[in-house]
Amino acid sequence: MGKMTGNEFFVKALREEGVDKIFAYPGACVVDIFDELYKQNDVDLILPRHEQGLIHAAEGYARSTGRVGVCLVTSGPGATNLVTGIADANLDSVPLVCFTGQVPTGLIGNDTFQEVDIVGITRNITKYSMMVRDRKDLNKAIKEAFFIASSGRPGPVLVDLPKDVMAQSGSDEYPDSVNLRGYKPNTKVHDGQIKRAIKMIYKAKKPLFILGGGVKIAGAAEDMKKLMEATGIPAVTTIMGKGSVPTNHDLYFGNVGMHGCFAANNAVNNCDLLISIGTRFNDRITGKLGTFAPKAKIIHIDVDTASISKNVTVDVPLVGDAKEAIQKLLKASQEYDGESDMIPGWVEQLQEWKQQYPLYMNKKDKLTPKEIIDAINELYDEPIVTTDVGQHQMWTTQFFEIYGKRQLITSGGLGTMGYGLPAAIGAAIGNPGRDVIAVTGDGGFQMNSQELTTATINRLPVTVCIMNNGYLGMVRQWQDLFYDRAFAGTCLRRCKDCETAGCNELCAGRSDDCPPYVPDFVKLAEAYSAQGIRVTKADEIPEAFAKAKAKKDGPTVIEFLIEDEELVYPMIKPGGPITDLVLGE
């Protein structure tokens, strides 16, 4: 057994974990670790331009590859800049290990320069957070962090590293196993419950699968398709689950939830058995609780016991890994010797609803969002698409067609604006050679636009599609529908002069008098050495994407000037039952 400083051991541990990319930003309390990283070539240091961009990039990397995303930042402001991303990863079950520098142990509690209690701050938004107080605990702590982050329901783990502890010498041995008496993730599926479930499935007249993000996380997309086909049971997805089965499949009927489609929401309303896999049924999906799936018994498969029966009451809980559960259900269905009671008209009924009320968007004078997403569907072959948060996100989740896995990366649980570009950067780093597109809003893009630098210097051919409607569109939509068009704080063209021009009343719509948009996104792109393109008409779209594809050594920003007041439909009123679906136009 040799000896190493904590700083040296840190790099060794990364190697042992097979980490080859670390998203890192330096500062006083981690400068020694950076020094070690500088001495080697196994682990690539990616330097984003803001720690929030850094952690979203790590999330994009983790979600697109299924591997753990690793962050390293300094104490104090470096650590607090991670907080939003940590909360985001916690709600979307993203495996991250976040290392934060900390002031030396002797100074903790003194309000030392750049000291914050980051373990305390993040205690409720991590899967686990800890400070390493003693060099002899470091080796085990890192091993445990990676294990906890990536096992069971994945999530973010924070490890706080005081500077003096890291400087000390200690064992260089990386533990080869973990034994945590309080953490034994249960992934084994109970066979008795599978039997009960399969009986219910075959006895149901109108069964329906609802698939959440857990199916993709478990890598169960292929098996899910087989199970759907073996049983003939139709499926709907949550936003996080979209792509769990190919979107063009005959038995797939779209997203449920606030902006889900008519067929999917109606299917939930009318089914008599809901087989849910890897979703916690959050409020954006169920609408008013108690009105959700009123006629259905519920089978709930989830690796996280605490997600079961959290928001809706479940009849058959099935704790375990989604992939194993799906495979066991598939086997059980092949061995089942009874007939299915599913009524023949059930799937036809869904098809009828789908044809009757498809997702659509009328053509307008200006570009429509659908035309942009349609073009992506047509011109790209299984791209990875990340989104920001807002209307453009909903349109993407509505119209984007997915055939492969892990193609859609969106902030579902926290709804974090500023997510799209950095997440795309992380995805591009993890998937060289694949097309990566960030669909973002004019508002959200500005929250992390500095990361264009990261894309440029790392030669990442990310394509940023800004859907510029001049508004914080999603909030404006609520003001349009529920607040008499009082666009308080949502017009992004508004400037000081508008007050004197009398634009304080309810908005009568865009006019030629509205001030020009700030910033000029094309010029901004060029300032970052990115390719900047502005598209105002539908027939310019193909050329813009062709140019983006041609640029292989850096990012392209395409600003699409879309309809200012396009709305996302259908829509369930916030807090209302999902039967109250407003179809729109």
Binding site: V119, G120, R123, N124, K127, Y128, M130, M131, R133, I148, G152, L180, R181, G182, Y183, G290, D304, T305, A306, I308, S309, K310, T313
Partner: protein, 172 residues
């Protein structure tokens, strides 16, 4: 959801947790962060000094309580969760009451009460009397009520109940 699941009820939990910095904060933070209302929480080391045991008493309906247990179960620091609600357990709580402004007459009265209600006088001087009571929480409530009725100038410190599973005695 049936009605049973919506009735608020007093519930008891016994938690084995890692005896480490921050664990109490994690447990109490989990409860407060999700707006669960705790009645009492006590914690202390066990026969194994790396393990602490917590007795948590809270008011919750069935669904919320199930959720709380699951949340604890999945916490890395929690080793084991035991639901004491329907088990026969032995519980005790320490309570101190300091009564100020005591006269010769009322002091005698306090000694009589101590006799009748089975609490102890542990300390006193000319003006004050210090009472100690180690009973179940409910009995302590009653004692406190009696004292309140008679004396206004008092100081109360309560430790919160600790609980352990009974062996053969059924009573609490």
């Amino acid at each position: 959801m049936n009605n049973d699941n919506n009735t608020m009820k007093r519930r008891w939990l016994s938690l084995y947790v890692e005896n480490k910095t921050g664990v109490l904060a994690r447990i109490s933070g989990l409860l407060s962060g999700k707006s669960y209302n705790i009645h009492s929480l006590t914690v202390g080391e066990t026969e194994d000094h790396t393990v602490s045991r917590m007795t948590i008493c809270l008011d919750a309906d069935e669904n919320t309580f199930e959720q709380i247990k699951k949340q604890f179960n999945r916490s890395v620091e929690v080793i084991k969760v035991i639901d004491f609600t329907n088990l026969s357990i032995r519980t005790k709580e320490v309570m101190f009451i300091k009564i100020n402004g005591v006269t010769d007459k009322t002091r005698t009265e306090i000694f009589q009460m101590a006799e009748a209600f089975k609490f102890q006088v542990k300390d006193m001087d000319k003006n004050s009397v210090l009472i100690e009571s180690c009973r179940t929480e409910i009995k302590n409530d009653s004692i406190l009520n009696v004292i309140y009725d008679r004396f206004k100038n008092i100081e109360v410190v309560r430790g919160g109940p600790v609980a352990i599973e009974s062996i053969s005695m059924q009573d609490r």
